[in-house]
Subunit: 240 residues, 2 copies
């Protein structure tokens, strides 16, 4: 059983959907039938979903809860999205705009990739339930995602990567990033072998000796190590 998520931190309520000054602050309910001005739109739904997630986590993101935040009936959402999966895609694309690609074109390729990778991992470590969604998401209808790939691709191209190696290299880095995002969420004692410790001497010794002398979170140590290997290994593909 999960402990209850912290209750409503001091944070402004979600802004009403697109310029809706007629937001229903009071308690009076809308009567049935089409309202004179639409009360929902995709960007409002996305903002409400993000607020809900930050407050209650992904278990709290239900169509009913989303509707409550937006002050509509759950069925009203289906005029704007086809499914809950659709809502997740909206959120996912928004998060991609938070990934830091500013290093590309600024400093060295190595520094740019490191900055990008760390921020990419950090964003999705807070949103691991979206990772299975991303893996299957066609970028077609995800403009922010596409914008990120464009910047990164250009960065790789300018750094001298052969064109046909760019996508595989990015995919390899992303795979490592997504896996590492999960790792951040792992409990501290995940490698505690408990009563079986006697039958796993090498593993137990390895766990003990890494636990002592890490300067940050274990997930950061592993990420840093793997990222270093990938950056130098992939960097060797450059022709200039």
């Amino acid at each position: 059983m999960l402990e209850t998520i912290n209750e409503r931190p001091a944070m402004p309520a979600v802004p009403a959907a697109t310029g809706s000054i007629t937001s229903n602050g009071g308690a009076q309910k809308r009567r049935a039938g089409r309202p004179s001005a639409a009360v929902l739109d995709k960007s409002g739904i996305t903002a409400a979903a993000l607020e809900l997630v930050s407050r209650k986590g992904y278990e709290g993101l239900t169509m009913a809860a989303l509707a409550r935040v937006l002050d509509v009936a759950p069925s009203a959402l289906y005029n704007h999205v086809a499914s809950k999966q659709d809502v997740l895609l909206l959120v996912e694309d928004h998060l991609m705009s938070l990934v830091d690609v500013s290093g590309f074109g600024a400093g060295s390729w190595e520094d740019a990739v490191r900055t990008w990778a760390w921020s990419y991992r950090d964003v999705f470590a807070e949103h691991t339930p979206l990772i299975p969604v991303i893996a299957v998401l066609p970028v077609t209808d995800a403009p922010q995602t596409l914008a990120m790939y464009e910047t990164v691709s250009k960065g790789f191209s300018d750094a001298g990567f052969p064109r046909e190696r760019i996508v595989p290299a990015i995919v390899a880095l992303e795979s490592f990033i997504f896996g590492s995002a999960y790792d951040v969420t792992a409990p501290e004692d995940i490698f505690e072998s408990g009563s079986m410790a006697d039958s796993t001497p090498h593993f137990t010794a390895a766990v003990r000796s890494s636990a002592g002398q890490e300067r940050g979170r274990p997930a950061d140590t592993a990420f840093s190590l793997g990222l270093g290997a990938l950056v130098s290994g992939l960097g060797a593909l450059r022709t200039t």
Copy 2:
């Protein structure tokens, strides 16, 4: 809306739980009350879950469906597992026994890691819904998982890895493996930028030029590339 999953292909029914010769082949139903011999146990539940998943996928793995396969009421399952999550852990641990660790102690460290990594990825590419479960799974109650880590740890140790680097190196490889498992399930056209292609010239060009000349699945190309980088980068940590 999802299309209906293919109906019951010709395939033998799941074997009854542990040596139960009194499997209820016929249609007569058990009457309420404790049966003289238990009809359920963990290994039977695991086997039934695996069969269900292979036939219907993870959307088909419900407590009700599992109970139907085992010919019990859904509530009976809760005498043996605490939750559905528990069932997933049983399945997960079983799958770990399928990962090929035979290379450790046989050939070079590089070959052993490559064999291990490819088989690890292949196993979980078919079971991606378990990946979020693994990330949080304490190894304590997962004997097969623990056995795998022991073999791999010993392999790293024998290959000359400093003790405190072994766990971070394994975690980095696993992160890459899990992320890459998702990648296998991605649709072919995941990078089709569609109507936005004009505004993403570098990315579009990169996608086009990698698409042409791959000798296997795109996911394999990226995995091979990233694995090579990790193996050589991490291998450099060895002291002997």
